[in-house]
Amino acid sequence: MPWNYILSRVAMFFVTIFIASTIVFFLPRISGQNPLEEKLLEEAARGGFLEDTDEMVAAFDEKYGFNDPLWEQYVKFMVDIVQFDLGRSIFNWPKTVNQLLAETIMWTLALGLLTLVFAFVIGSLMGAVLEWKRQKTFLMVLLSPVLTLSAVPYYLFGLVLLLAFSFVWSIFPLFGGYSRGIAGWPDWSNWSFIGNVLWHATLPALSVVLVSLGGWAMGMRGMMVTTKGEDYMLQAEAKGLPDRVMFLRYGIRNALLPQLTGLALQLGLIVSGLVLVEVVFSYPGVGGLLVQAIPRSDHAVIQGIVFVLALGTALATLILDLIYPLVDARIKYSQG
C-alpha cells in the first residue's frame, strides 16, 4: 500500500475534522441564544422567581469567557478539541460533555451497529436471492410488506410497535435501556442484566431493522440484475461452475461493491438516524441527550455530539477509502 496515498487520505481526514469543528463552533452561536440565560430562566421558572437574572448572566458570562471576542473563544475551543476536551454541560452541571458521551454513546453505538449490520446482511441477502431465483418464493411474499415499511419513518413505526407489543400485549417494556430500580444494576457481568438489556433493545432494534430492510434489499436486487447480465456471468455458467459458486463468487461478490459504499455512509449516520427512535423508546443514548440539549442551547453538548458524529463519519469514510482497493482491485491506491 503506497504511503503517499495513505498520508493524503489521513490529511483529508484531518482537514474534514477541522472544517467540521469550525462549523460546530459557529452554528450554535448563530442562534443568538445565551445558554446561561436559558438555564437561569429555567431555574427561575421552577422556583417561581429569581432575582437579578441579568446580573447573574453577566457574571457567569464573564467567568466562563462568553464575553471574550469570538476568535479568542474559537481558538480556545480548537485547542480544547485537539485535547478531546469537549467542555462542560451547563444543564447537567458539573458533568463534562465527555462524561455525558461516555454514559450514552455505547448504547447508541451498540444499537446502531447491530441494527445496521442485521439490516444490511438480511436485506442484501434477501435482495440477492430474490433476483437470483426469480421464482415465486416466500421471499416474494415478504417483499411487499418490507417495501411498504421502508416508506415509514423509524420513529412512527416504533410508536406502532410500542403500542402493539408494549401497551396492548405487554410483551416488551415501554421505555428505557434496562429495568430501573434493581440494586447493583447496571452490571455488565450479570447475565440477567444483559438479558434485560436485550429485552429492552428488541423493539427499538426491530423498528430500525424492519424499516431499513427494504432499502438494502432493493439496492442489492438492482445491483444483482446488472451483475446477472454481465458477460462474466454467462462465462461462469459456460465454465460449468455450480450455481452456488456463481451466486456467491460471481454474483454477490460483484453486486456487493456499491452496497459497501452505502454501508460505510450509513455508519456515519448511525447516531443521527437513531435520535427519534431513542426519544420514542426513551432509550439512554446520544440521541436523547441531543434532543435535550438543542432547545436549551447547551452549546457544549451540541458541539460535542455533532463533533463526535462528524468524527465518526470521517473515520468511516477514511476506513472505506483504505480498504476499498482490497475489495475491488480496479480501484487503485492513487492520488486523487
Partner: protein, 359 residues
C-alpha cells in the same frame, strides 16, 4: 495459419474418417414473446466430425448465436428448446439433468466468448478464474496440490502465448487480446472434445485477430478437438473452417466443405453472400443483398428467402448465371412450401427448391 494449399488436404483427410462428434437433429429454439413465438432456430440439423472445424455464418438475427448457446444449453428465457436432439460423443445433451450438463460444460464442450465481452470476473485474479473451472470438475478430494495446480496454470497460459505472471493479474490489467487469450486458456483447461467459439475475435484489431485464430487453431490441432466457429467474417471462415454452415432466418440453408462452398455455392443466399465479397483480381462494384432479414414472428410463407431471392425475383444481374436453373424452377413452390434441407452429395446439404429434382 495453414497455407492455402494445405487447407483442402487436411479437410479431405478429416472427411475420410466418418467419426461424428456432434450431431444436431431438427433443433428448434423458440423465443416466447408477447408479440408471438419467434422461431429463432427452426429445424436445424448437421453433423460435425471429431477434429473438424466448422464455421457458421449468417446475418445478425439469423439465429446462429442462439443455436450455439442452445448447444451448451446456455440459452436464457424467453428462449426455450422446442424440440430436436443434440448428441455430443454419444451423449444426448438435452436429456441430461442440470448437474450432468454442468459437468459436461468445460469438460466436454467449452465456450470461447465474444472478443468484445468482459468475460472475466473483475474481482479475481486470472489464476483463480482458471482454477475454479478445474476445481469444480474435479471430484472432491482429488484436487491436486497447490504446486501442481499452479504448474498447470502456467502451462495453460504458455500454451496461449501468455507469460506465467499473467496468472497474478486482474482482468482490468490485461489488453483485449490478452483477455481473449486467457479465455482460450480457460476453455482448453480440461481439454474439451469440442470448442464453441462465438465471434472470438470481434472488437479485436486484425493483427490480434490473426494471433488469436492461430492460437485457437494450434490448440485445436494439439487436442484434436472439434470447433464450431460462429461469425460473419467470410474471410476468417475461409482461412479457418473445414466445413461451413450458412444460416438464414432460423434455417440452416446450406452446409458444405469450405472449398466447395466458395467454388460452387448452391443456395442463392450463399451465392449472393460470396459474390458480395471483394475479389482482389476483379475491379468493380460489389453487390450487396437487397432487403432486410425477415421478422421471425411471421416469417414469409414458403421459402423464407424468396422475397430477397435473385432467382425467384428474376434479378437481371443473376439471370445469366441461373438461366438454366430457373427454367426448371416451379416458382409457385417458393411462396408456398418451405424447402427442406436435402443432401445433394455426401456432406453437401442445401435447402432450396432449385435442387428439388436432384434430391
Amino acid at each position: 495459419m495453414t497455407t492455402a494449399e494445405a487447407v483442402p488436404e487436411t479437410a479431405l483427410d478429416r472427411r475420410r474418417t466418418d467419426d461424428v462428434l456432434l450431431e444436431v437433429e431438427n433443433l428448434r429454439v423458440y423465443y416466447d414473446t408477447d408479440a408471438g413465438q419467434v422461431k429463432a432456430v427452426d429445424d436445424v440439423s448437421f453433423t460435425l466430425r471429431r477434429g473438424e472445424r466448422m464455421g457458421l455464418v449468417g446475418e445478425s438475427g439469423s439465429g446462429k448465436t442462439t443455436m450455439a448457446m442452445a448447444l451448451m444449453r446456455l440459452h436464457k428465457p424467453p428462449a426455450v428448446i422446442a424440440g430436436g436432439t443434440v448428441t455430443l460423443d454419444g451423449v444426448k445433451l438435452l436429456d441430461l439433468n442440470d448437474e450432468e450438463m454442468r459437468q459436461t460444460r468445460l469438460r466436454d464442450i467449452a465456450l470461447v466468448p465474444q472478443g468484445a465481452m468482459n468475460s472475466l470476473n473483475p474481482v479475481y485474479r486470472v489464476r483463480d478464474q482458471i482454477v475454479d473451472g478445474i476445481k469444480h470438475h474435479t471430484p472432491k478430494g482429488e484436487m491436486p496440490g497447490k504446486e501442481v495446480v499452479n504448474e498447470r496454470v502456467y502451462e495453460l497460459l504458455n500454451s496461449v502465448g501468455l507469460d506465467g505472471n499473467v496468472a497474478d493479474m486482474y482482468p482490468h490489467e490485461l489488453s483485449g487480446g490478452m483477455k481473449q487469450r486467457v479465455a482460450l486458456a480457460v476453455a482448453t483447461s480440461l481439454r474439451p472434445k469440442m470448442i464453441l467459439a462465438d465471434e472470438p475475435t470481434s472488437a479485436l484489431d486484425v493483427v490480434v485477430q490473426r494471433q488469436i485464430m492461430l492460437t485457437l487453431e494450434q490448440l485445436q490441432q494439439e487436442m484434436q478437438a472439434s470447433v464450431l466457429l460462429v461469425g460473419h467474417d467470410m474471410g476468417l471462415m475461409a482461412q479457418f473452417a473445414d466445413v461451413l454452415g450458412v444460416m438464414y432466418a432460423g434455417h440452416l440453408v446450406e452446409f458444405a466443405p469450405i472449398a466447395e462452398i466458395f467454388e460452387d455455392p448452391k443456395h442463392p443466399y450463399t451465392k449472393k453472400l460470396i459474390s458480395s465479397l471483394p475479389d482482389i483480381q476483379v475491379k468493380g462494384t460489389f453487390t450487396g443483398i437487397e432487403g432486410l432479414p425477415p421478422t421471425l414472428v411471421v416469417p414469409p410463407p414458403g421459402c423464407r428467402f424468396h422475397p430477397r431471392c435473385p432467382i425467384y425475383n428474376d434479378d437481371e444481374d443473376f439471370r445469366g448465371e441461373f438461366v438454366d436453373l430457373r427454367g426448371s424452377l416451379d416458382t409457385g413452390l417458393c411462396t408456398t412450401v418451405d424447402p427442406p434441407l436435402k443432401e445433394m452429395e455426401p456432406r453437401r446439404w442445401v435447402a432450396c427448391h432449385l435442387y428439388e429434382g436432384d434430391a
